[in-house]
Amino acid sequence: MIEIYVLLSYIIIMKIIKEDPWLNQLKKGTFELTVLMILKKEDSYGYEIVKKINELPFFSISQAAIYPILKRLLEYKLINFYTQEMEGKPSRKYYSLTKEGELLLFQRLSDYKKMYDGILTLEKEL
C-alpha cells in the first residue's frame, strides 16, 4: 500500500515541477550573455531588462535576480550606468555597454556559436 502512495506522490510532484535541471543550468549560464546583448541593442534599466529576458522563449528570471548580475557586470567594467531624472517618477538608473563589454560579448557569441555548431555536427552523424 505505502509503495503505491510513494509512487503516486512522486508522479504528482514530477508533473507539478515540470523542471528540467539541465535546461535550468543552461539558461543560468547564458544570462550574462543575454544581458550584454540587450544592452548592446540599447541602454536599459533593471525592470526593462527583466521584462525583456522573460519575453524570450525558455528564459525566466525573478525580478530582483537581475541585480547581482548587473553588479557583477559593473565590477568587471563590462557595463556602465547613468541616472536619468523622470517627470513625476523616481529617477531611473540606466545601464550601458562599455567597449570591454562589447568585445567580450562578441567573443562569447563566437564561442557559443562554435559550441552550438559542434553539437549540430554530432547530431548530423546520428
Binding site: M1, I13, P68, K89
Partner: protein, 203 residues
C-alpha cells in the same frame, strides 16, 4: 503616485542598507523605480491597484535578502536567484500541517481514542493552514516545502489505514473517524496543492 506598502518595503530595505553611506540612495532609487514600473505594468494588465502592489511585492525577496544581494552580489554562481534562501520559520509552519494529520492518524493506536488528542491534532492542522496561507513573502524554498507537505499528507493515509485495520474493536464510530480523517487528508491535499500551484506560478 504613492503606494504605502511599497514605501514600507522600501523603508525596511533602507534600514537593512543603513550601514552603507555612498551607494544606499542609488540602490533604493533603483528598487523604487523597478517596483513602481512593475505595479504600473500590472495595473495596465487590468489588476486593481492593491492586487498589483501585492503581486509586485511578492515577486521580490524580503528586504533582508534583497539588501544582502544588492550589496554582495553573488560571488560564486553569478546568477543565483536570491529568492532561494532557506526559510526555517516557514518550514515550522508547514510542518504543523503534517504533524496535525500525523497526530490524528497516530491516535488510532489509542484504545479507546482520546478525544482531547483529536482536538490537539485539529488545532495543529488549523494553525498550520492559517500560518501557511497567511505567509506573505513567498520564495522558492517555501514552495519546495509545500511539496514535502504534500508527501507528508499522503503518508498519513496508509499510516492511519494500517493502524485502523490492526484494531480488533472496529465499530461504527471508529469507521466514521477513519472516513472523516480520509476526507481531511484529501481536502488538505487540495488546499496545499492549490497553494503550491499559485505560488509556484508567481515565483
Amino acid at each position: 503616485m504613492k503606494y504605502s506598502s511599497i514605501d514600507t518595503f522600501l523603508n525596511k530595505l533602507d534600514k537593512e542598507l543603513s550601514y552603507l553611506s555612498a551607494d544606499k540612495e542609488n540602490y533604493i532609487a533603483e528598487v523604487t523605480d523597478h517596483l513602481y514600473s512593475l505595479v504600473e505594468e500590472k495595473k495596465a494588465q487590468g489588476l486593481q491597484e492593491e492586487e498589483a502592489i501585492t503581486q509586485s511585492l511578492n515577486e521580490f525577496p524580503s528586504p533582508k535578502v534583497l539588501a544582502k544581494d544588492l550589496v554582495n552580489g553573488d560571488k560564486n554562481t553569478f546568477v543565483k536567484d536570491p529568492t532561494e534562501e532557506i526559510d526555517f520559520k516557514f518550514r515550522y509552519k508547514a510542518a504543523l500541517i503534517v504533524m496535525g494529520l500525523g497526530e490524528l492518524s497516530l491516535i488510532l493506536v489509542d484504545r479507546p481514542i482520546n478525544f482531547y488528542w483529536i482536538i490537539v491534532g485539529i488545532l495543529m492542522l488549523i494553525a498550520g493552514n492559517i500560518m501557511v496561507l497567511k505567509h506573505k513573502r513567498w520564495n522558492k524554498d517555501n514552495v519546495k516545502q509545500l511539496l514535502w507537505v504534500i508527501i507528508g499528507i499522503w503518508i498519513c493515509l496508509p499510516l492511519a489505514l494500517f493502524l485502523f485495520f490492526r484494531r480488533d474493536d472496529i465499530n461504527p464510530l471508529l469507521i466514521s473517524y477513519m472516513v472523516i480523517l480520509t476526507f481531511l487528508i484529501v481536502i488538505q491535499h487540495f488546499i496545499t496543492f492549490k497553494t503550491f500551484k499559485v505560488k509556484n506560478h508567481k515565483i
